[in-house]
Amino acid sequence: MSYINPSYSEKFESRHNAPDQKQIEEMLKVVKAKSVDEVIDQTIPAGIRLKKKLNLPAAQSEYEFLNSFKKLISKNKIYKSYIGTGYYNCITPGVILRNILENPGWYTAYTPYQAEIAQGRMEALINYQTMVIDLTGMQIANASLLDEATAAAEAMHLLYASRKANKKNANTLFVDENTFPQVIDLLKTRSEPIGVKLQVGNLDKLDITNLDLFAVYLQNPDNNGAVKDYTTFIESAHEKEVFVVMGVDLMSLVQIKSPGEMGADVVVGNSQRFGVPMGFGGPHAAFFATKDEFKRQIPGRIIGVSIDASGNPGYRMALQTREQHIRREKATSNICTAQVLLSVMASMYAVYHGPEGLKKIAGRIHGLAQLLENSLAKLGVKQVNAHYFDTLKLAVADKNSIKQKAEAAGINFRYFNDNHIGISIDETTSVADINTILSVFGSATADGKPETVKLPGSLIRTSPFLTHPVFSTHHSEHEMLRYIKKLENKDLSMVHSMI
C-alpha cells in the first residue's frame, strides 16, 4: 500500500481505544464471536438501541484540537482580579504545578480504597488535615469537601442532627447576611427539604434566646471583608445551646485569632488560595473542621493513622462506616468524591512555604491592603471596614465611572449593588498593582510603609501553627521536589497498570 496521502490525519480514537485490529481478532476467538458488533448485538437489547448515529462535530486530531482550542479559549480576557468573594489569585509554585497538577503519577490515581498502595497521597492528605486543624484552631478536619458553600451545608446537616437535648425541636438556622451570596444561595437549597428554617439577617439584631434557633452561620472575614472577634457572641450562643459555624479564609488565619480560639463549633472554607488556580470556579478543595465531639459525624473522607501488619504506622481512610455505601439512607451525607488532587496541592503549598513563609505572604497581602487604604484616604475615598485582612470596601459616589476606568486598565473590582466597591488583595499583588488601582481613583502614587498588623490586639493571632516538622523541612526546591516524588512513588496509579 502507498503511504502517500496528503489528507492523512492521525486519529485520536486509535490512541484512546487501545486494542488494534490484530488484538481484536485474537480476542474474538476467545469470546467466540465473529465481530465486535456481534458481541454488542448480543449484549444490548435491540429494543433500546439508538436508531441513528450521534450527531457530533467531526473528530479532530490531537494537534488540530490544541490549535483550534487555543483560538477559542483566547476569547477569554485575563484581567487582574480583585473581586475576592471566596476566590483569589495565587501563585502555584512551579515545583507543585509541574510535579503534581501536571503529573499523571498524581492525577491518575484512584480513590485511596487500597491503602497500602496509596500511602503517598494519604500522607499529603494528613498534612492537609493538620494544616486545616492548625490554622482553624479546631480538633479534627476532613480531606476534603467540594466547595465552601456545600461545606457550609454539611455543617448545617451535622449540627441539625446533633441538636442538644432542649433544642431537639429547634429548626432555625440563622445566617448572617454578610455571608458570601453563593453560600446563602446553597444553604437555601439544602435547608428546605430537610425541614430546616433558614433565617437570613443582621447578626447584631439576632435574638439568641429564640427557642427555635439551633445554630448560627457567620463568616469571618465577612462578605464585605470585615474582620471581627466573635468570642463573646459565641459564648452567649453556647449559653443558649446554639451552635456556631464560621466560614473563614485560610490565608487570613495566619494573622487573625483562630475560630477555634473564638469557640466555633464547625469551621468551613475554601483552600483555593493555597496555590490552586481560580479556574472560573473550580475545582478547589473545601475544608471542614470541628470539635472532637463530632468526629464520628464528620461528612466526607477523613484520613487516619493506623498500624500495619509489621507494626509500622500506615495511613488509611478512617471511619468508613459513616459513609453511604454502608449506611445508605442513614448515612451522614451523600458525599463520595472529594477534591484530593486540590487538597494535595494546597497542603504542598503549606509544606513549601511553611509557617514563616505564610506569615510573609499574609503579611504582604495585609500590608498592601493597608497601603491601598492609606493612599485612597489621601484621595478622599472612604473605606468602611473597621478591621480587615485583605479586603477593602469603598464607599464611592459613582461606581459606574470607576468600573469603566478599571476595565480600561484591565482590572476587575467587586461592585456591590449600592455604591460600594470591594477590592481584595492577594498573593500576586505588587506595589505597582496598587499604583494601577490608585490611577483608577485619581493620580496618586502609593506611599507610606505599613509595618504592623492593623488589627486590635485581641484579634491578632498569637497561637503557633504548622509546627510539625514536615512544614519546616522542604523549603529548598530540591527538598520539595524529592518530597513530592517520594510520596508519588508510594502510590500505584494508571501510570503503572490498569485500575
Partner: protein, 449 residues
C-alpha cells in the same frame, strides 16, 4: 478507569483557563462560555435530553440536583406530596443518601435471583405509592453490569403512576452512542465526567456530575445567586460556582472533540468487548455473577469470591495479593459483598488485560493451595499480602512460602516491580485509636503503649 489523555490535560494549566475569576464579567469569559455551550450541546446529543446543568461537582451532587429538579417539578403541579423515591436494592449507596437529603422517603425495590430489578415488586410498589410516588432512581446498565431488558417497561410503569425516572449515569460508558437515557425512558440523568468523559480521578477527586434533563425538568435546572444560570423556574444553587469545576470541563470537551460521534460509539463497543474478553477468560477459573440473556456482560462484570470463604480466604485477601502482582484491585464488595467488579474500559490493550487475568488466575491457584491443605490457612501468601521490600529482604524469613513466590509470583512482575510501602493496614485499630493529623512517629508509638 479509562485513559486521561495528555492532550486532554494540557490546556488545564493554561492561564486562559486558570486565571479567570469565578465571577468575572461575561465579556471577559467568552472563551469559557463558548466551550460550555458546545459541551452542553454535545452532552444533550449523547443523552438525548434537552437541558444541562454543569453545576454539580460530583456524581452524588448530580443525584441531589436531579432529585431537586424532580421535587420542584412536582411542586409546580401542586403535587408536592409526591415524595416517595423507589430505589432498587442494588443501587449505589449515594442514591438513598441523596434522596433523603432531597426530602424524600426511600422505598427499596427488591432484586430477583439474577440480580435484576424485580419487576413484579416494582409494579406493586409503584401502585401502592401511586399517590405519593416522586421518582425511581435506577442505574443503567445495572450496577450488576447487565442491560436489563425490562428497563422500558420499568420506566413506563413509573410514569403511569405519576413518577419520574432518575437515571444514575455511573454506567454511561456502556451507553454512549448505542443507547441513551432519554431513549430508555428516563427524565433526568447525571454524568460522571470523571468516569465516562476522561476527567482523571485525581487520587479521589476532582470529579464532575452534571445533570441532563428533558423538557419537563428543564425549567427547574439550578440557578445561582451571582451569575444567571438554569431554567426560568430555577431551583437554588447546587454548587458555589455557577458552572461547577469549570476549568476541568476542557478534559471532557477535548475527549469528545477528538473522538467524534463514531469514536465515542466505538469506545462504548470496545469497553463492552474488553469486558467480555476478560469475562470469558476468567469464567474458566471463577464464578461470574449475573450476565445478560446471551451470556454477555455489559462494560463490567462481577467475579464471585464468596466460595473461597470456606478456605478462609476473603475478597480482601485477593485485593491485597493483587498488589504483589503490581495491580490495584478492582471495585471490592460493590454491589455485592464478597465480590470483585472489573471494569477494564476501552483504553486497555489486550497485553495489559492478559497480565491482569494471569495475575487473577495465579491467585486462584494460590487459593487452591489453601483449599487443598497444601498451604496453611493463616500463614499463607494471601493472608500476608501485600509484601513490602522490607519484609522480603529481612534477614529472617520464616514464612512457609518462598520470597520469590511472595514478591515475583509471575515472570512479568520482575520486569517492573511495584513495591507496596506498608504491610496490610489494620482498619479497626485505626478507628478505635483515631489519629487524623500528623504525629511524630515517637509520639505515635507512645500513644499506642
Amino acid at each position: 478507569m479509562k485513559l486521561n489523555a495528555t492532550t486532554e490535560m494540557i490546556p488545564v494549566t493554561w492561564p486562559e483557563l486558570g486565571q479567570i475569576h469565578t465571577f468575572a464579567p461575561a465579556d471577559q469569559t467568552q472563551g469559557y462560555l463558548e466551550m460550555i455551550t458546545n459541551l452542553e450541546n454535545w452532552l444533550k446529543e449523547i443523552t438525548g435530553f434537552t437541558g444541562v446543568s454543569l453545576q454539580p461537582n460530583s456524581g452524588a451532587q448530580g443525584e441531589y440536583a436531579g432529585l431537586m429538579t424532580i421535587r420542584a417539578y412536582h411542586e409546580s403541579r401542586n403535587d408536592g406530596h409526591r415524595t416517595v423515591s423507589l430505589i432498587p436494592a442494588s443501587a449505589h449507596g449515594t442514591n438513598p443518601a441523596s434522596a433523603v437529603m432531597a426530602g424524600m422517603e426511600v422505598v427499596v425495590v427488591k432484586s430477583d435471583a439474577e440480580g435484576k430489578i424485580d419487576v413484579a415488586d416494582l409494579k406493586a410498589k409503584a401502585a401502592q405509592y401511586k399517590d405519593k410516588l416522586s421518582c425511581l432512581m435506577v442505574t443503567y446498565p445495572s450496577t450488576h453490569g447487565v442491560f436489563e431488558e425490562s428497563i422500558i417497561e420499568i420506566c413506563e410503569t413509573i410514569h403511569a403512576n405519576g413518577g419520574l425516572v432518575y437515571m444514575d449515569g455511573a454506567n454511561m460508558n456502556a451507553q454512549v452512542g448505542l443507547t441513551s437515557p432519554a431513549n430508555i425512558g428516563a427524565d433526568v440523568c447525571h454524568l460522571n465526567l470523571h468516569k465516562t468523559f476522561c476527567i482523571p480521578h485525581g487520587g479521589g477527586g476532582p470529579g464532575m456530575g452534571p445533570i441532563c434533563v428533558n423538557d419537563k425538568l428543564k425549567p427547574f435546572l439550578p440557578g445561582h445567586a451571582v451569575v444567571k444560570t438554569g431554567g426560568d423556574k430555577a431551583i437554588n444553587a447546587i454548587s458555589a460556582a455557577p458552572y461547577g469545576s469549570a476549568s476541568i470541563l476542557i478534559i471532557s470537551y477535548a475527549y469528545i472533540a477528538m473522538m467524534g460521534g463514531e469514536g465515542l460509539t466505538n469506545a462504548t463497543k470496545m469497553a463492552i468487548f474488553n469486558a467480555n474478553y476478560i469475562k470469558e477468560r476468567l469464567a474458566q477459573h471463577f464464578k461470574i455473577l449475573y450476565t445478560g440473556a446471551n451470556g454477555r456482560c455489559a462494560h463490567e462484570m462481577i467475579v464471585d469470591c464468596r466460595d473461597f470463604k470456606k478456605a478462609g480466604i476473603e475478597v480482601e485477601d485477593i485485593a491485597k495479593r493483587l498488589m504483589d502482582y503490581g495491580f490495584h484491585a478492582p471495585t471490592v464488595s460493590f454491589p455485592v459483598a464478597g465480590t470483585l467488579m472489573i471494569e477494564p474500559t476501552e483504553s486497555e490493550p489486550k497485553a495489559e488485560m492478559d497480565r491482569f487475568i494471569e495475575a487473577l488466575i495465579e491467585i486462584r491457584n494460590e487459593i487452591r493451595e489453601v483449599e487443598e491443605g497444601k498451604a496453611d490457612k493463616e500463614n499463607n501468601v494471601l493472608k500476608h499480602a501485600p509484601h513490602t521490600a522490607a519484609v522480603i529482604t529481612a534477614d529472617e524469613w520464616t514464612r512457609p512460602y518462598s520470597r520469590q513466590k511472595a514478591a515475583y509470583p509471575l515472570a512479568f512482575v520482575k520486569d517492573a516491580k511495584f513495591w507496596p510501602s506498608v504491610s496490610r493496614v489494620d482498619n479497626a485499630y485505626g478507628d478505635r485509636n483515631l489519629v487524623c493529623s500528623c504525629l511524630p512517629l515517637d509520639e505515635y508509638e507512645k500513644a499506642e503503649a
